[in-house]
Symmetry: C2
Subunit: 151 residues, 2 copies
DNA sequence: CAGAAAGTTGATAATCTTTCTAATTAAGTG
DNA sequence: CACTTAATTAGAAAGATTATCAACTTTCTG
């Protein structure tokens, strides 16, 4: 049961004077078909599409990911060093946050209704229109704590 | 009343087999003398030091910012497109979060004890050693909502 | 006080991301 | 279905960040 259909994406884009292109539709579909807890980098998406016979240039992929994040359709995450990851920005019962080990990048997702409420309330109080709120917890996982490596 | 002195930084570095260098001490000092609500990019820091007659190479600056973020001394923030910002990672009464307009990058800091508690509790439950937790709210500010520009 | 071992720096190369531009394409109009 | 207009794309260039490596510094050993 996808949140966005091609039609609703088109409507939202046109509202701002933008256009629905095959590239944008394809990229949205990839994220809607993505398994829970999966996150894609720009390169992941690029090669995933290549394997399916679709060619979308890397610059279009980067541009589209940014655009959809700014629209509130995708979330941009810093899960690992060196590159960003993206996932669908889903509403309440699916909305979640991330706990990340700064050493090995192991990541755990968790939900919190109170945080979502604080986020909404804070945005509202300042007159901001909320797109997404994400708690990022940086920490050291049990394994890395035990590790003797100084890194 | 700085949290870290040169001595305590040295102690924490040595504990992991690392060393306190003049460059690291200088960079820590810059952040400790930074006004509340200020955030620095790697380039900001680079040119700020140049103006004070200190030369630290950009690669050392990037390396040190990463190191201190992984140690929990600094926080790495995505406040604007294209580059990261850093600030001191301060404990409870100073600990705060960020509300950001995705269009104009206007940013508001706010505090929340409940979020800090949820963050600590979540890390603890999973056996993670907490370094930092930051709520990032992406939204559209009142001015940009009124703006007719489609961007 | 040598000499060895390990960490750090600065310069450079590699990688990731954003910006720029000419050619193309979606959307609106008659 | 032309035709106009403005947004979008692909590719190249520029910018930001990370990785690599030789020279240097600090710490440890004998
Ligand atoms: Mn997730
Ligand atoms: Mn701040
Ligand atoms: Zn770990
Ligand atoms: Zn704004």
């Amino acid at each position: 049961m996808p949140i966005y259909t091609a039609a609703s994406l088109k409507a939202e884009l046109n509202e701002k004077g933008w256009r629905l292109t095959p590239q944008r539709e394809t990229i949205l579909q990839v994220f809607q078909n993505l398994a829970e807890g999966k996150h894609l980098s720009a390169e992941d998406l690029y090669y995933m599409l290549q394997n399916e016979g679709e060619h979308i240039s890397l610059s279009t992929i980067y541009r589209t990911l940014k655009l959809m994040a700014r629209m509130g359709i995708l979330r941009e995450l810093e899960l690992a060093e060196g590159h960003k990851h993206y996932e669908l920005n889903q509403p309440y019962p699916y909305h979640h946050h991330h706990l990340i080990c700064v050493r090995c990048n192991k990541m755990i997702e968790f939900k919190s209704e109170p945080i979502l409420k604080i986020g909404s309330k804070t945005a509202q109080k300042e007159g901001y229109h909320l797109l997404d709120c994400q708690l990022t917890i940086h920490a050291v996982c049990p394994t890395c704590q035990r590790s003797l490596l100084p890194a």
